[in-house]
Amino acid sequence: MAPLQTPLLKTNGLVAYYGDFQALFGVDIELDVDETVAIIGANGAGKTTLMRSIAGILRNAATSVSFDGRPIGAQPADEIMTQGVAMVPEGRRLFPSLSVEENLLIGTYGRKSRGYWTLDTVYDLFPILRERRNNPGTALSGGQQQMVAIGRALMSNPRVLLCDEISLGLAPVVIKDIYKAVPAIKAAGASLIVVEQDIAQAMAFADRVYCMMEGRVTLSGTPDTLSRNDIHDAYFGASQ
């Protein structure tokens, strides 16, 4: 079921290490234009490592990640971001010395932002942030902080948005609020890779799902072709 056009983003036998510890063993994933891909898997499966490798925090072989047909695997994070791949990092990682508004503005550092997302459109997406604009980012609730982290990544008008565990540690009602923003983000022209622990949530919004276990992709497909048993096996490795 290979797509006819070149994928927007693609990993190619991606391997990653933390020192001597190998965290990824040849991961191949693809993201097409306007697609939303979910990556599911247990803790330690390598989901965050995959995100950090794509974003350039972990440097890899040049050809192991390609964006728009160009090899970007060996580029540093700042260069990857200026080409149009933004990340909402795990744990939100707001800058404690910056206000909410400054946290958003830092997303456009050194560039004229061209596109739909500006301070105003981000505030329209998450109106509570407009009220809290002058508060320190870290004075907000967890859900509001997550909104700042998403808004900060959107401010660069990315073509690919990587979201790492955006619902981690949040109340279900807050998670619903945050996922309500996904259609607007897609409408503005971003394709998404979302790491999500909640399988039901992932199945509900993703066009395609990859399941990872122990640094490898163990299952992939569209939500309607994957049975709960397939996923259970891919998730926990309890096949047969």
Binding site: I57, A77, F95, L98, G107
Partner: protein, 287 residues
């Protein structure tokens, strides 16, 4: 009345120490780098101004203006190609490298300019004074203090009102996440050191106008700068000014009692503040 005069002279002297300290404070605040060569860099700046004055026949103020961009570039290159390599979880490498730099600078200056003490040429301005009631204020100390306040106001504006300032604070908080925002931490650090070198040049100008200098006086300037930064609380620029003033007042009061006590009184004031407020007067919350 003599005491009022002494305290005011001390406050103005504090401006000089705040100038010594601001560059140190800036660099430490952004990248947690303690530059042990800071004092020697000030002395080097004074020699650079002296060379420009001698060769081009300029006034020291004009020479300092020309020296500033030169020093900015030097700082940028030093940070980008040497000091950035020392940054990391371990605090020892930057200390060792800047300590080595300090020794190398002192010897290079000694080799080039000899151990003779030098002074920037004085004009009428350097000895002029204004009368404020019963107290006579030197124009040069007033200029020094005014420059210190200007530098600190300018740095605060830069930090809290500009895009570069936002990038400084963000990179200081978390370089990895800053790089996800398209920021190159290595270049941000280089720019910060470049700006610190511009402040070093201003400090060097007043050092050379107010007193003699020779290649060996750097480490003592570093100590005063350190004390001002620590008294103020690490990373607080206004605290640094206050720290400089406390050392300056303590030194002039000590000297008024007995000239032998001038330097010692400054050190005592430093120890006293540390005893009462071990983290300085205005410590940053998240250090």
């Amino acid at each position: 009345m003599i005491w009022v005069d002494t305290v005011i002279q001390g406050i103005l002297l504090g401006g000089l120490y705040a100038l010594f300290a601001s560059g140190l404070s800036l660099v430490f605040g952004i990248m947690r780098l303690v530059n042990l060569a800071h004092g020697d860099l000030i002395v080097m700046g004074a020699y650079l101004i002296l060379v420009l004055v001698t060769i081009l026949g300029l006034s020291p103020f004009l020479a300092a203006l020309i020296a500033m961009p030169v020093m900015f570039c030097l700082g940028w290159v030093l940070q980008k190609f040497l000091l950035n390599r020392t940054l990391g979880d371990d605090i020892l490498p930057p200390l060792l490298v800047t300590f080595g730099l300090s020794i190398a600078l002192q010897n290079a200056l000694l080799e080039t300019f000899s151990a003779d003490s030098q002074r920037l040429p004085t004009s009428a301005l350097t000895t002029a004074s204004v009368q404020a009631g019963p107290v006579s204020l030197g124009v040069m100390p007033l200029l020094t203090f005014g420059s210190a306040i200007l530098v600190i106001v300018a740095l605060n504006q830069l930090f809290y009102r500009t895009e570069l300032g936002r990038a400084f604070r963000a990179t200081s908080d978390d370089p990895t996440t800053a790089s996800l925002m398209g920021i190159k931490p290595a270049n941000i650090f280089a720019t910060a050191t470049g700006i610190a070198f511009v402040i070093v040049t201003i400090a060097a100008l007043y050092l050379g106008l107010r007193a003699n200098f020779d290649p060996n006086i750097g480490p003592a300037r570093l100590i005063y700068a350190f004390q001002a930064v620590i008294i103020g609380g690490l990373g607080s620029l206004w605290g640094t000014l206050l720290g400089g003033v406390i050392i300056g007042v303590a030194q002039t009061l000590g000297a008024a009692i007995n000239p032998e006590w001038q330097i010692l009184a400054g050190h005592f004031a430093f120890l006293l503040v540390l005893l009462v407020r071990p983290r300085g007067l205005f410590p940053r919350a998240n250090d």
